[in-house]
């Protein structure tokens, strides 16, 4: 009898819980709450209004870049070089917002869920090695497109292209004591015109490889493709997703957004300004864009990308983002404050006089002041947003709590 009563109580409890939970159910797993749905709304919006448009724009830019560089390789004139440079700038500008979105296929294989390491094939900064690029130029290793596809990231992508298109020095960048230098491989190319031609040819191969990677990234996200990562991302917590829960999907997005902390704030801004990891007063030689002189613009693009992700698309429009999630949970003040901090941060960097190199050299105090403004939204995100949404820091060694 006692067993019967206990069993009946158990079933009644389960049934009651089930009934209460039912209104929250749609296609989600049984009993899921509204927050999980809201998380998926954010992920879907980021996919549809940020990642997919940017990836589409990026592949179009990469295509135009490839056309321009092919023309330049066919006829290495100053006009063609300028056209190639302009296309490279357009392409990197669109990439610098996508750069933050190392979720899914763009992310590092084995580290990021669904990662295929496409980001490194597209842009591997700070892993760059211009000497290796020179070696490939001299040895014409780029001519074998299959070999280029599996080459190390530091001889491929937008960073290699920047060096090939914007470096006006006809010399190489390997150390004078290296075998490459002592055996005269670079000099064997010929005179300056031959070097220009060789670099242009190399650039064409890299641009083709870049287009391949960009297309691969776009196809991975293209919602028209079956098995598109878009659905696996936006449906976090459901059967087709790589994320076990919607919270895990949101955490993957947050992990990607932390790019602005270590890479943007520290490596792109603080290191050249001499604030960290720099033995001298300043280390402008460690800035991101050494040849095109766009380091400042890249930082601004990263911050704007962050804001765009935070808003789930258009910061001033009706797209659904983390800001709406926070507002919906009663944390509208936090969302508004963080957005204002992000605008101020981007403006502080944008307002630096001249390039980052010029600002660091001529007005170092202004760079330090900009750094102090840039770190504010990142602090807010790392402390308050992480707390309120109960998100984990990226790559945190999984351990227990108590």
């Amino acid at each position: 009898m006692k067993i019967f009563i206990a069993t009946r109580t158990l079933w009644l409890t389960a049934a009651t819980v089930g009934l209460i939970a039912t209104p929250a159910c749609k296609d989600a797993p049984i009993g899921e709450g509204a927050n999980a749905d809201a998380h998926r709304e954010v992920l879907a919006s980021v996919a549809d209004h940020v990642i997919i448009p940017l990836a589409q724009q990026f592949v179009a830019s990469a295509e135009e870049l490839h056309v321009a560089v092919t023309a330049y390789a066919g006829s290495p004139t100053a006009d063609n070089l300028e056209a190639s440079r302009a296309r490279w700038i357009a392409t990197i500008t669109s990439w610098q917002q996508l750069e933050l979105l190392q979720v899914g296929p763009a992310g590092l294989m084995g580290v990021v869920a669904g990662g295929e390491s496409l980001r490194d094939a597209i842009y591997s900064w700070p892993v760059v090695n211009t000497c290796r690029v020179d070696q490939e130029t001299a040895r014409e290793g780029y001519a074998d497109s299959a070999a280029l596809q599996i080459a190390l990231p530091n001889v491929r992508g937008l960073d290699a292209l920047e060096y090939l298109l914007f470096n006006d020095d006809a010399g190489h960048t390997c150390s004078t004591g290296s075998t490459f230098a002592t055996e005269g491989e670079w000099e064997a190319i010929g005179d300056q015109a031959a070097v220009v031609q060789r670099r242009a040819s190399h650039a064409m191969a890299v641009a083709a490889d870049l287009l391949r990677s960009a297309t691969q990234l776009w196809q991975a996200w293209d919602p028209a493709n079956s098995g598109s990562f878009r659905d696996r991302f936006a449906n976090a917590g459901q059967d087709t997703s790589v994320y076990a829960t919607a919270q895990e999907g949101l955490n993957a997005l947050s992990d990607a957004m932390f790019y602005v902390e270590q890479e943007t704030k520290d490596m792109k801004l603080a290191v050249p300004a001499g604030l960290i990891d720099c033995a001298a007063d300043a280390c402008p030689q460690d800035r991101e864009s050494l040849y095109a002189g766009l380091s400042k613009e890249h930082i601004v693009a990263n911050l704007e990308g962050f804001r765009r992700i935070f808003a789930g698309g258009d910061p001033d429009g009706a797209t659904v983002g983390l800001d709406d999630l926070l507002e919906s949970m009663g944390q509208g003040e936090l969302a508004t404050r963080l957005d204002a901090e992000l605008i101020a941060a981007a403006a502080a960097v944008q307002d630096l006089q001249g390039t980052l190199l010029e600002a660091v050299t001529n007005a170092p105090q202004s760079v330090l002041a900009a750094y102090d403004v840039v770190r504010i939204p990142i602090q807010t995100f790392r402390t308050e947003v992480l707390s309120v949404l109960d998100l984990e820091l990226p790559q945190r060694a999984e351990g227990d709590n108590d």
Binding site: A14, V17, G18, I20, A21, T22, P23, A24, C25, P29, I30, G31, E32, G33, A34, N35, A36, D37, A38, E41, V42, S45, A244, T245, A246, Q247, G274, L275, I276, D277, C278, G312, D316, A318, T319, D324, L325, S328, M329, G330, Q331, L334, I378, Q379, T383, E384, L386, S387, V388, L389, D390, L393, P394, Q395, R396, A397, G399, D400, N401, D402
Partner: protein, 483 residues
């Protein structure tokens, strides 16, 4: 009164419950060690870090090389199994205490309340005769040595140790954040709406309140309910439900298993026999259960006189108990919010009571340069260490000293180290945790109240509402935007 206590403490109780306790705790040690190895935590916690945070007074503890740490964890697992089996029990418990505690002392960022509890239990078990029954030792040494009954004080001491955890865990929840604002549970539960069946309820504020009060009342009342015979079995059932629920919702590792195992010490000392009899009645089984139903030894024996070793033992137990009571109370001496300044936070059973996220950036100035330089903790720490450090002022101070020493070693004797350390407690707006004007290079660590830690926030923590359909919210915002 003392005579009655002394006499009662030396009455003999069935050793079956204590043997079960030994077996379960031994297995928990083994499980902890093997889980540590399986998760690759030796590499993450002892090999990858370049620096380690020391406990005050234990700065000399350093990790062994990776291979040796791996061997040590295997040894802990094996020792746990030996304790469970009661094989060479005295040696095994002493070695288990030493090795397990050594591993815990290597880096403060690995501190967990349940590891601390396991160390304490290993220490106590080394002195307790839990191997006199149902053990390899008892089988090895024969019936003349084995005991089917053990003194009641053994059970009492273990009850006290386990009860201390619950009572102080309950008292730690008697805060405005926990009881009046349902934080941090409101934050944690709102992020767990993926949970099957009950997920739909977890973002409701009333559920967070219900869980907060249930947790508070459970921790505070479970000991008296377990002590009272009439409520004992119900209380243990409630305890199991509580730990299963908490274990399912929060990432607290083996804590529920440890507590559910340790709390069996509150059950009637013969509970394993009763369970065996019931199991036999239900599914059948060997008659050995019947034979073992009643220990042959008498329950009442004349207590030893309170002199010599017996007196010394009694004093040691009293001192131990006094320390266990006093240790968590030390936090009260510091004033303020212990969850903020964290002075007296460790070893005080403040289990899962805060959501704290911080961000730390050091500013270093030397006599040679006018400008301050930034030093990011990531230069020295792993992600795990940085996260743990960023909310704990004494660890922030330790890293400041490490940076100071590194600069001094590089030829900058007059280095000043300041810190921008902001933290958000239970979802509040982030504020400075450490006085950014204080030169931490000149601050010594110690147990005195730390003037360099700023007072905690006074405003109430935020309360989260369940999210509604965001598309509606965004559309409403758009319609409000002036064209």
């Amino acid at each position: 009164m003392l005579n009655r206590v002394w006499t009662g403490a030396h009455q003999r109780v069935d050793a079956a419950g204590l043997a079960a306790f030994r077996i379960m705790i031994g297995l928990v040690f083994a499980l902890s060690a093997f889980r540590f190895l399986a998760n690759g935590w030796v590499e993450r916690f002892f090999v990858q870090p370049d620096v380690f945070f020391s406990y005050w007074g234990f700065e000399w503890v350093r990790p062994l090389p990776g291979w040796a740490m791996t061997m040590l964890l295997w040894a802990i697992g094996l020792l746990g199994l030996m304790v469970a089996a009661g094989a060479f029990y005295r040696v095994a418990t002493v070695l288990l205490f030493v090795t397990f505690t050594y591993v815990e002392l290597i880096d403060v960022t690995n501190y967990l309340n349940h590891y601390y509890l396991l160390s304490l239990l290993a220490f106590l078990m080394a002195f307790l005769p839990l191997h006199r029954y149902a053990s390899v030792d008892a089988w090895r040494r024969g019936t003349g040595w084995a005991r089917a009954r053990l003194p009641a004080w053994v059970v009492w001491l273990l009850m006290f140790q386990v009860g201390t955890v619950y009572v102080y865990a309950g008292l730690a929840k008697a805060t405005g954040d926990w009881l009046l604002h349902a934080q941090p549970l409101n934050i944690w539960l709102s992020a767990r709406t993926d949970t099957p069946l009950i997920g739909g309820l977890l973002d409701q504020l009333w559920v967070a309140y219900a869980f907060s009060w249930a947790g508070f009342l459970h921790d505070l009342l479970i000991v008296p309910l377990l002590l009272w015979r009439r409520t004992r079995m119900w209380a243990y059932g409630l305890l199991l439900l509580f730990h299963v629920t908490v274990g399912a919702l929060l990432n607290i590792g083996l804590f529920p298993v440890i507590m559910a195992s340790a709390a069996t010490v509150f059950l009637d000392p013969d509970w394993p026999r009763r369970l065996g009899r019931r199991a036999r009645a239900l599914v059948g089984g060997p008659a050995a259960f019947e034979a073992a139903a009643a220990p042959p030894e008498p329950a009442r024996t004349a207590p030893p006189r309170c002199v010599g070793w017996a007196r010394l033992g009694a004093i040691a137990v009293a001192v131990w108990c006094a320390v266990q009571v006093a240790m968590p109370l030390r936090a009260q001496l510091y004033g303020g919010d212990v969850l903020w300044h964290e002075q007296g936070m460790r070893w005080s059973w403040r289990v899962v009571v805060r959501e704290k996220n911080g961000v730390v950036s050091y500013r270093v100035k030397t006599a040679a340069t006018e400008r301050e330089r930034r030093v990011q903790p990531s230069r020295y720490l792993t992600e795990h260490q940085e996260r743990e450090m960023s909310g704990q002022p004494d660890l922030i101070l330790q890293l400041a000293h490490l940076i100071r020493d590194a600069y001094r070693a590089d030829g900058y004797p007059d280095v000043e180290v300041r810190v921008d350390a902001l933290a958000s407690l239970n979802g509040r707006r982030a504020t400075h945790l450490i006085d950014p004007s204080v030169d931490l290079a000149r601050v010594d660590d110690g147990i005195a109240p730390a003037a360099w830690i700023l007072p905690g926030p006074t405003e109430a923590p935020p309360q989260l509402r369940p999210a509604r359909r965001l598309a509606d919210l965004a559309a409403a915002k758009k319609s409000e935007t002036p064209r």
